[in-house]
Point group: C2
Chain length 181, copies 2
């Protein structure tokens, strides 16, 4: 919902009303409320979808895939569902969240939700609890790093797929995990 994100960035999240968001988006208030329970919802819409796609990708990975390869399959599944819209909102979402404590808390909970969904899917494949939590955290980091790079407005041409960036980040984390010890 670009209109809302622009308003949040311009005048702050707290100062922005649903009426303003609806007007800027060319919607009536009742149409707005048919899609979102409140203005906070604008920022979390898609969160359940994200967790579901990550889980589905992990569950569909070959039974003998290593945990991080299953996580990679989850990231690929998410990437396939991403549109130019998802890329375009990245920097605006980032700016809105950076400016508001309440949204930071919401965003942090979103990360925790993604990690839990991935860990649960991995445990469902027989991965032990600690390795599952670890692989899930690596998946969240890879998604965040990859999404930040993919949605970076500095790209002067089509940046291609999110998966390219997220999987490169996962590989970097994989390599880094060998150097920590």
């Amino acid at each position: 919902m670009l209109a809302a994100l622009d308003l949040f960035a311009e005048q702050g999240y707290d100062a922005t009303t649903v009426a303003e968001i609806a007007a800027k988006a060319g919607l009536t208030k009742s149409t707005f409320f048919r899609h979102f329970a409140d203005k906070r919802e604008v920022l979390v819409a898609g969160q359940e979808t994200l967790s579901r796609l990550l889980s589905e990708g992990i569950e569909a990975a070959p039974a003998d895939a290593k945990p991080l390869d299953a996580v990679a399959a989850g990231l690929r599944r998410v990437s396939d569902a991403m549109t130019p819209f998802n890329r375009e909102i990245g920097p605006r979402l980032h700016a809105a969240v950076a400016a508001n404590r309440e949204l930071q808390e919401r965003s942090a909970l979103k990360s925790v939700g993604m990690a839990e969904a991935m860990a649960e899917a991995l445990r469902g494949r027989g991965t032990g609890d600690v390795p599952a939590q670890l692989a899930a955290e690596l998946g969240v980091l890879a998604f965040k790093i990859g999404y930040g790079q993919w949605s970076d407005p500095a790209h002067d041409s089509d940046p291609g797929e999110l998966a390219t960036y997220a999987l490169a980040a996962l590989d970097e984390l994989r390599a880094a995990s060998a150097e920590l010890r």
Copy 2:
């Protein structure tokens, strides 16, 4: 603040007033407000201290210590500052947070803050950005797992130091990171 946590657990966070917390703790409202800005503060008091101790421990680790060994030093520093009070509030804090979405968001942001503090301290030692983020996430996981075990009310005798549990969890994560690939 055990009185507050008990009230949150008994009657819910939203339904609990500052006046009730103060009364249960044997404090006047003005004394309460000298220590906490609002009731939410009760749950985050100590958060900055935690991040500071983790950072200090990491910074004080030998210059040639590997990132995860520096993280271990941070966990040891935190452990040294923990009291029986910190252990006792664990399960109550957990119950209060589990029951309230707002507190879940606050708690998630706390984890993010701890991870950022540790990553920053590691970058200050020359650790690259990605390995620093990774080592910091492992540190947060080790703290959470270790704290959960240490504060488990099922212990029928003195559970000893938090460090014993947190460092064992870090070792388990270290070992698990080798099996993910």
